[in-house]
Symmetry: C2
Subunit: 108 residues, 2 copies
């Protein structure tokens, strides 16, 4: 039986997006450079441990950049690279899909 061949670039992109928290982190950074604790507080249930892992992975992928400001206490900011900013149209698509198809009939 044949396996459907997925384009490796596409597959890579899908893997980045499918990994828990990555999409949310990247989305969160669309609004500008942010510090560790800020991102952590922005995404409920995301633990510092996993955030730390994901930021390293995203940096390794060239999607975000880590900037160190040697103040006291040290300030570290994470921001999207061009590669990361290029996700913007994708988020727009997700948004418009959501607008059209996701309903919230009941309020909590």
């Amino acid at each position: 039986m044949e396996q459907s061949q997925l384009c490796p670039r596409f597959e890579k992109a899908l893997e980045i997006l499918s990994k828990r928290w990555t999409a949310k982190i990247v989305y969160q950074l669309q609004s500008g450079p942010q510090r560790f604790v800020w991102i952590e507080n922005s995404l409920p249930n995301l633990s510092g441990k996993v955030l730390s892992e994901r930021l390293k992975e995203l940096e390794a992928e060239g999607i975000i950049q880590r900037d160190v400001y040697p103040e006291t206490p040290v300030r570290i900011e994470y921001k999207l690279t061009d590669k990361g900013k290029a996700f913007a149209p994708l988020f727009k698509e997700i948004s418009s899909w959501a607008e059209q198809w996701v309903d919230f009939p009941s309020a909590p």
Copy 2:
């Protein structure tokens, strides 16, 4: 400290897409109705156990439909609903992001 408020619909969409395997399964079904084993074989490393879970979740979300053909042995096909088909432009965006930004410098 304020938390950035994510639109609940958008968040829901992001959660669907971020869950391991869901995006790949939905993408796989874009090519037409498929049976359990076919999907399983199309996605390397996806276990039947998780596929079973995901298909139920996606059906509950109204993204796919499960059709039973009482042949022998029974044939069951999964296919996208309109809601599921509406992911198409999103996959196009992922694809074009991947084309532009993902490189594969070395061949295996």
